[in-house]
């Protein structure tokens, strides 16, 4: 253990320590002064983002006996996770006060969860993957139930907890079987054992399948998606926004790391399964979303469909030549999804009534007339989720479809395009309700929330005109050169 080892995990360490200090600081500030904690949390996240950016570069360093690694991939995602944390604090600040759930531990929990996500991107040992998964999930279970004693929030917390722990059981058993097949838990060592042919194929396949099922729960793909609508609807919307972007991105980070590095030789066996998961998620998510009248539920089903789109990038893994660009496409789409979904959830938060009852699509009526700026932002997010210009969602989908077609999976691309058309129906219904129907929407005036929405909307539009720079960064983040 050297100094260098600690430098590798410097941003995560800083964030976890800062979160612990934040828990102590919570005692010092009385009920009306919790704003200071939000500010402190934002400062901590900003410093973490800064530390992460100073670490960026084309080098890669492994530390703690190969437990964690610092490479372009982890660096890219760590920057994304700090940004998600910052947005999460920004949208929560006013909203939690309005909903009467302004408690100091909220920010510490967000910080712990973000540090788990960052560790997940750095983990190169299945043990670390498991620890990071729990570090990011356990705070989220608490956050989902944060609006107690509101019944829907408690219920969301319990459902998320029980199904999340169930999924953890699958992951742990999958890791145990993988250990049995290879005798190691380090991801590169698993890859080496598979390459050398010393691994037991049956145990390895069973382990990979269980790990895939466990992470399928985390990223909410069909058929492991049942919890998603209930949890997204019941949890406080500030939590939902954070969880929809963060937990999904972290789950995909682990899947990319585990499946692309440890199980590439299984890719031919796993690809049909991933194909089916991806296609089912796109179909089921988009079709179920049409029937929803509650906006939070609609976006929950939409997030299932979006998980299906991201999963498309995993399908061509068997093809060595395409692997780097498919990882880059997945990372790019994660960024696009982060901005878009955060913005959309933000708009829902500003329309939410003080009672905590979530908004129906009908509540958006008249928004175009009464608050054009917010309506324009929501229009941008809906267009981006559909995959229409001029938004990041379109560019992201282009990259995804391109890798799938290059990999020769034409039918998956066709399903992707057709389901995007289906999704236009319910996304554009929101746009139509905002601009063409009359009504008196109640809009909350919260500076930080509006700032987060404006930032997300601008990023969604502006980055779509210069996607190459972001895609290049994502391409540099590809970690296969590291080994």
């Amino acid at each position: 253990m050297t100094q260098l080892d600690f430098l590798v995990i410097l941003p995560v360490t800083f964030l976890a320590l800062w979160a612990s200090l934040l828990l102590l600081a919570d005692v010092l500030f009385l009920k009306g002064q919790k704003a200071i904690l939000a500010l402190l949390a934002a400062v901590g996240l900003a410093v973490t983002l800064g530390l992460t950016l100073t670490q960026s570069g084309a080098h890669s360093a492994s530390a703690f006996g190969g437990m964690v690694v610092l490479d372009g991939f982890s660096n890219f995602l760590a920057a994304l996770f700090s940004l998600i944390g910052l947005l999460g604090v920004a949208v929560a600040y006013g909203y939690n006060r309005r909903m009467g759930i302004e408690r100091g531990e909220y920010y510490a929990l967000i910080l712990f969860s973000v540090s788990g996500m960052m560790l997940m991107a750095q983990a190169t040992d299945l043990l670390m993957v498991f620890l990071a998964l729990e570090l990011l999930s356990i705070p989220l279970y608490v956050l989902a139930a944060f609006a107690y004693p509101r019944a829907s929030s408690e219920e969301a917390g319990l459902k998320y907890f029980l199904l999340g722990a169930f999924a953890t059981g699958f992951v742990v058993y999958g890791i145990a079987l993988t250990f049995g097949a290879t005798g190691v838990t380090s991801i590169p060592a698993i890859a080496a054992a598979v390459q050398a042919g010393t691994a037991d194929t049956f145990l390895l396949l069973a382990g990979a399948a269980l790990i895939l099922a466990g992470f399928g729960f985390k990223v909410a793909t069909v058929p492991f998606h049942m919890w998603t609508p209930d949890v997204y609807q019941g949890a406080p919307t500030s939590v939902t926004a954070f969880m929809a972007a963060g937990a999904k991105a972290a789950g995909f980070a682990a899947l990319l790391r585990v499946f692309a590095v440890a199980f590439p030789s299984l890719a031919a066996d796993v690809a049909p399964v991933l194909w089916a998961l991806s296609a089912l998620s796109m179909l089921a998510g988009n079709v179920a979303a049409i029937a929803q009248t509650d906006v939070k539920r609609m976006l929950a089903y939409s997030s299932i469909a979006q998980a299906g789109y991201i999963l498309m990038a995993f399908v061509p893994f068997a093809n060595e030549a395409i692997r780097p660009s498919s990882v880059a496409a997945a990372l790019f789409y994660l960024v696009a999804y982060t901005f878009t979904s955060f913005g959309a959830w933000g708009v829902i938060m500003s329309l939410e009534k003080d009672s905590g009852e979530s908004a129906a699509i009908a509540d958006f009526a008249g928004l175009g007339k009464h608050n054009p700026a917010l309506a324009v932002a929501m229009t941008v997010f809906m267009l981006s989720l559909t995959g229409l210009p001029p938004t990041l969602g379109l560019v992201g989908k282009m990259y995804l479809f391109r890798v799938v077609v290059e990999g020769g999976f034409y039918w998956l691309a066709v399903i992707g395009v057709v389901t995007s058309l289906i999704s236009a129906f319910y996304y554009l219904r929101v746009v139509q309700t905002m601009w063409m129907k009359d009504g008196k929407p109640q809009v909350a005036k919260e500076d930080w929330l509006n700032f987060a929405i404006a930032f997300s909307a601008l990023a969604t539009v502006v980055l779509s005109f210069v996607p190459a720079s972001l895609f290049d960064w994502a391409s540099q983040a590809v970690f296969f050169t590291a080994r």
Binding site: S152, E154, L158, A165, F166, G169, Y173, F179
Partner: protein
């Protein structure tokens, strides 16, 4: 010495009982216990393999799983107690306010 595959069979059975328990039992506490059973089945697998290969890393992994499971218990029981306070029941069939 008991052969390793006996342990593996036992842990596979325990894991299945646990998974089945999660799916069919209606009391949140029992569901939670079933999840713990799944984790412990995985632990048993890990220890059995660690013994077979003569490796300590598998046993160390089990310590981490147990520690994390304890943290999960703390959060899970807190959630269940909170719900019991407001509803006087922890039957998960009554958790039906959210649907659509």
């Amino acid at each position: 010495m008991i052969p390793t595959h006996f342990y593996l069979a036992l842990s596979a059975i325990l894991f299945s009982i646990g998974a089945l328990g999660v799916l069919v039992r209606r009391n949140a506490l029992v569901v939670f216990m079933s999840i713990e059973l799944m984790l412990n089945a995985a632990n048993l697998t890990m220890v059995a393999f660690a013994r077979q290969y003569g490796l300590q890393s598998g046993q160390i992994f089990v310590f981490f799983v147990m520690a994390v499971a304890a943290a999960e218990v703390a959060v899970g029981l807190a959630l269940i107690v909170t719900i019991y306070r407001s509803r006087q029941t922890i039957d998960i069939d009554d958790m039906n306010r959210l649907k659509g």
